[in-house]
Amino acid sequence: MSDVVVRTTAEAPLPADVDMSTTLGRLEVPDPVFTASGCAAAGRELAPFNDLAAIGGVVTKSIQMEPRSGRPTPRMAETPSGMLNSIGLQGPGIDAFLDKDLRWLADNDVRAAVSIAGGSVDEFARLAGRLRGQPVALIEVNISCPNVEDRGQVFACDPNAAAAVIAAVKRNAPTGVPVFAKLSPDVTDIVAIARACVDAGADGLSLINTTLGLAIDPKTMRPTLAGITGGLSGPAIRPLALRCVWQVHAALPDVPVMGIGGIRTGVDALEFILAGASAVQVGTVIFNDPSAPSRISAELRTALATAGFAALRDAIGLAHRPPALRVPEDADPPGDDAVEPEPMPREVTFEDAQS
């Protein structure tokens, strides 16, 4: 990476000429921007605002075996530069999802990254199996789910449980479809969880899911959300997400990462790419701006061009290069041009003696 040269803006390519393609395991996509799970339903509602076939793809809302009606309301609270949500994985179940949602995505040439969520290793395995023969570009495993067989312990918080899920999904998933584990930041050592997932066969990692938060309504003096706690998302968590991508890419530089967390602009997306993400997902910003996926893709393209990149791939992980410590070659030694100090001002007197 040390031979990568960041070109000056004088040589900058035109935005339209930037190669935005990227690779996620065995999946090659022409654009690195995906919608994040739970922020785009199954894509259809965003079609009036985006050319969904042109972006990387849609990561669908996590699907489970059975229909699920989710949690009571209120399900969300706005927080500074973010929001808390406690939806409870409301969804139609895998059968209706395959019949309707996935079919719509395929009919409209939208790459579908299917997020699966289970309450047990077996449910994850069965979900992965149901995706065989289906138009699925990528499988994202939402392991931020409570394990009903382990007192509700979240899979993503335990390396062994996370690995067990990933291994089961890999065994059952359609051949050749990359499996990405989506990790929770609510762990002491995210690299340890990342490593466990990769060792279990994950083809890549989605970093990060929401982080747990709480809001209290000063009027009722009770938690604002019916579910008490909720997942915090939005620009408020961007530095946290970026740190996770950085740490995981530093430890596992060959593992493709999808960077997620508070991306609002193309420059935000570029930060994640520079930190080591091969692609990004945009989530909460969609609630603010339903055109965000297309807008951010265009802005990222411009940001890359402005920085002199001919290809997105050249920017991946570039922030990890050592800092440049060059002294300009033509710098003069100090002292040569030493400027004489200005003389101290003197008192001025006038001929006419007025004062």
Partner: protein, 297 residues
């Protein structure tokens, strides 16, 4: 009907009683909008800390004008987002998405309709009244609010309707009491066949009950536009759900932004608002608090 996102110039901001009304150039929204639909407005600017859109029902549209189509909506300053909105001035630009949601369905044949509005919830009822009158319906209004300065559209109502009944909680205008107190008498007097309503949820529940009890229990249909808090308005966030009974008789948690905001009043599980009824499709056995702690959408 395809919603569009526009950067619309603010034309006017007017104080109307306790409320503000804002008119924005919104080509593409104005031309498509139908009564009962709403717009979702971004607040706080491109780099602001408030990410969630604010939803407002459309008061009226002008399809053609010097500036192109315009949309007018009414709001009350209730928090930081609406306070920011109240600070917008002519020529400022607003990011607006619309028209959103299912509009009020009109009767197939001319019918006698009572339109019931609570506070500025009455805003979408005036374009509805226009549409109803165009198809030969009789329109009567019941408008209520906590205080007289919170009644919205009294003059509009008087201009359009065969009759208008007003109520205020404090008796400062019209009858003292709630709209549901006078609604039975209005229904009987005008021999109403349909009730349309928009306002707070408790009011909509009461209006639905009154409509169902009309004519000695024979009942008449009530179509109500709900106010649920939303994050996106376009159907992707899943926060604005409420339990609604479908054509198959089964209850689902449906999005008020996509499947509503207008519902048949008797389809809403009023006793379960804020909850997931145990017989709803996909109502899982409630998770323990420990299980609820998973950060997940």
């Amino acid at each position: 009907m395809t919603p569009v996102q526009v950067q619309g110039e603010v034309l006017t901001v007017k104080q109307i009683g306790a409320y503000l009304s804002m008119t924005v150039v919104a080509s593409g929204i104005a031309e498509q909008a139908r009564p009962g639909q709403f717009v979702a407005v971004a607040v706080g600017g491109d780099d602001g800390a408030m990410l969630l859109r604010r939803a407002f029902s459309i008061y009226q549209v002008a399809q053609r004008g010097v500036y192109g189509g315009t949309v007018e909506f009414v709001f009350a300053v209730a928090g930081k987002g609406t306070a920011w909105l109240a600070g917008r001035r002519p020529h400022d630009v607003l990011d607006i998405v619309g028209p959103l949601g299912r509009p009020f369905a009109l009767p197939k044949d001319p019918a006698r309709c009572v339109l019931v509005g609570g506070g500025y919830g009455s805003a979408p009822l005036f374009s509805l009244a226009d549409a109803l009158r165009k198809v030969g319906c009789r329109v009567d209004f019941v408008l209520g609010a906590a205080t007289s300065d919170r009644l919205f559209g009294a003059l509009d109502a008087k201009r359009m309707a065969a009759s208008v009944a007003f109520t205020t909680d404090d008796g400062s205008y019209g009858e003292q009491g709630r709209v549901s107190d006078v609604l039975p008498e209005v229904i009987e007097r005008v021999r109403a066949e349909v009730v349309y309503a928009c306002g707070p949820m408790a009011m909509l529940e009461a209006v639905t009950r009154v409509a169902s009890e009309a004519y000695g229990g024979a009942g008449i249909p009530a179509r109500v536009a709900v106010e649920e808090s939303m994050a996106c308005g376009v159907g992707v966030c899943m926060t604005c759900v409420l339990p609604v009974i479908g054509d198959d008789g089964r209850t689902r948690m449906v999005r008020s932004c996509i499947d509503g905001p207008v519902f048949a009043g008797d389809r809403i599980r009023w006793d379960s608002l804020g909850a997931v009824p145990a017989d709803a499709i996909g109502a899982a056995a409630q998770l323990s608090v420990a299980q609820l702690s998973a950060a997940q959408r």
